[in-house]
């Protein structure tokens, strides 16, 4: 039915099967949309946030998807600026994941603010000293970059590409993509960092506060670093899930191995920096403000020392050791374990730097307030996940996301085997060069 839209030389399931499979995902999406409108119409009283938890699940989700979406900027940096040409075979997918993550982050922010119609004030009345202003500016600009990077992929759809103007536009955009990628890397460095700065500058909150260089606390650099380390891991994790669902190999192992190796070294250096930062904070910064390390991890039912061990040891040291060793990367089980742990590490770190910052009492006569999200918060947080699945499915179906797919999965139909194989091979020649 939609075969005219499907890239040449690839196999896709019937449209009806796709619709059937996406049915539950669409249901989750609609559930999220209902919750989103409830929040917009009735206000943030629909959430379980309160005056102690001004930042909660949404801001965690926001920080997390931005960190994990960092795969796009880092892969782009490696591909276009550093010149790791091999990564052209995964860059489309990284851009797609980045686009989903960043559009989700903007949507979540639009729901999270108390007066959504005044959201533009952050630009118009910008306070240049606020980390959040820097986040908003760079986030919006980088979303534009991701849109520009995603656009050529859409234009490469078989039917759109037939129109000469769009074909030329896509070609021209590819030609100067390095300029956009460089701008994206510059913007990403600042907004990933600013998100770390959001917590790090809070000198009224000893759990979050860090010293630093000039106006940037150490968390500024740690957040950028961890995004560059864990973002590519997220891209790889989703690639493997996509391969499992489609039952196809979509990217060659050497490409994945290269990206994983670089991510591994980023993670290793990051975790060393993180350990130094944690040690200095525990030994110098916090005691100077009257706190001992154990104060932040005791006298409450949830935030124990386990969170620090989980983040640094289980989700930091272990995956970095696996990813930097060739043996670790070549074993599928240990490789996937490392990738998943690295992703989980970013999630745990962002959780601590948002939720635990809010929870840890500062006044001596206050306790740890606890929080659990309302269903509206959960639904609106799952909304971007559902939207992401749908966009990946549609992009995979109609756009040449994986340049190596044709080569790795030659189509052999019963009646025109030779023809199809020939088409597949010619497709393999065209796609990677244009990706």
């Amino acid at each position: 039915m939609d075969s005219a839209l499907i890239p040449k030389g690839v196999n896709r399931c019937p449209l009806s099967e796709l619709i059937l499979k996406l049915g539950p995902v669409v249901a989750v999406l609609l559930w999220g949309v209902v919750a989103m409108f409830m929040c917009w119409i009735k206000g943030l009283n629909q959430t379980n946030m309160n005056d102690s938890y001004g930042f909660a699940l949404w801001i965690w989700a926001d920080l997390t998807v931005i960190a994990l979406g960092g795969g796009a900027f880092f892969t782009g940096l490696l591909r276009y600026i550093i010149g790791k040409d091999k990564l052209k075979n995964i860059i489309n997918f990284a851009v797609l994941i980045g686009f989903i993550c960043y559009s989700s982050a903007l949507l979540i922010l639009a729901i999270d603010i108390g007066q959504p119609l005044r959201g533009w004030f952050i630009f118009w009345h910008a306070n240049v000293h606020s980390m959040l202003t820097e986040v908003a500016f760079c986030l919006t600009c980088y979303f534009m970059v991701l849109t520009i990077e995603y656009l050529p992929l859409i234009l490469e759809n078989r039917q759109i590409d037939r129109l000469p103007f769009f074909h030329n536009l896509s070609h021209n955009m590819h030609e100067i993509m390095a300029v956009f990628a460089a701008t994206g890397a510059f913007l990403s460095f600042f907004h990933q960092g600013s998100l770390g700065g959001v917590a790090g500058v809070l000198f009224g909150r000893p759990f979050a506060f860090r010293e630093g260089i000039f106006i940037w606390p150490w968390t500024f650099f740690l957040f950028t670093w961890s995004a560059a380390a864990c973002g590519p891991c997220f891209t790889i994790m989703l690639l493997k899930i996509t391969e499992r669902i489609t039952r196809k190999k979509l990217v060659k192992d050497d490409v994945v191995d290269l990206l994983a190796k670089i991510a591994g070294w980023m993670l290793t250096t990051y975790i060393i920096a993180k350990i130094i930062d944690t040690w200095y904070w525990a030994m110098v910064t916090a005691p100077s403000l009257g706190f001992e390390l154990t104060d932040f991890y005791s006298n409450n039912p949830f935030y124990g020392m386990w969170i620090l061990i989980l983040e640094i040891v289980v989700c930091g040291i272990i995956p970095s050791i696996i990813l930097i060793s060739k043996k670790g990367r070549s074993n599928p089980v240990s490789f996937m374990t490392a990738v998943v742990l690295a992703v989980l590490g970013a999630c745990v770190n962002r959780w601590a730097m948002v939720l635990q910052v809010m929870a840890a009492p500062v006044l001596t006569f206050e306790g740890w307030p606890m929080y659990y999200p309302s269903w509206q918060e959960v639904a609106t947080t799952l909304l971007p996940v559902a939207y992401g699945i749908i966009l990946v499915a549609l992009s995979y179906r109609y756009l040449p996301v994986f340049p190596q797919e044709v080569e790795l999965n030659p189509v052999e139909s019963e009646d025109q085997g030779g023809k199809a194989k020939k088409a597949a091979l010619s497709g393999a020649e065209v796609s990677p060069a244009r990706a």
Binding site: A126, V128, R162, P164, N168, N172
Partner: protein, 52 residues
């Protein structure tokens, strides 16, 4: 955001921060403008026809 916003001050913070913003926006805007105009010219010259 603009010098005519009343909270604007001509200081280093504003020049660096807003300078960075407008620099990035200009690169994106000019880059896309170049791509679109060049695509229009290429199309008028008959390029890209082999794919149609």
């Amino acid at each position: 955001m603009f010098p005519f916003n009343f909270e604007w001050i001509w200081d280093m913070s504003h020049l660096v921060f807003m300078g960075g913003l407008w620099f990035a926006l200009n690169i994106l805007g000019l880059g896309m403008t170049y791509c679109i105009i060049k695509a229009a010219i290429d199309t008028s010259k008959g390029k890209g026809g082999e794919h149609s």
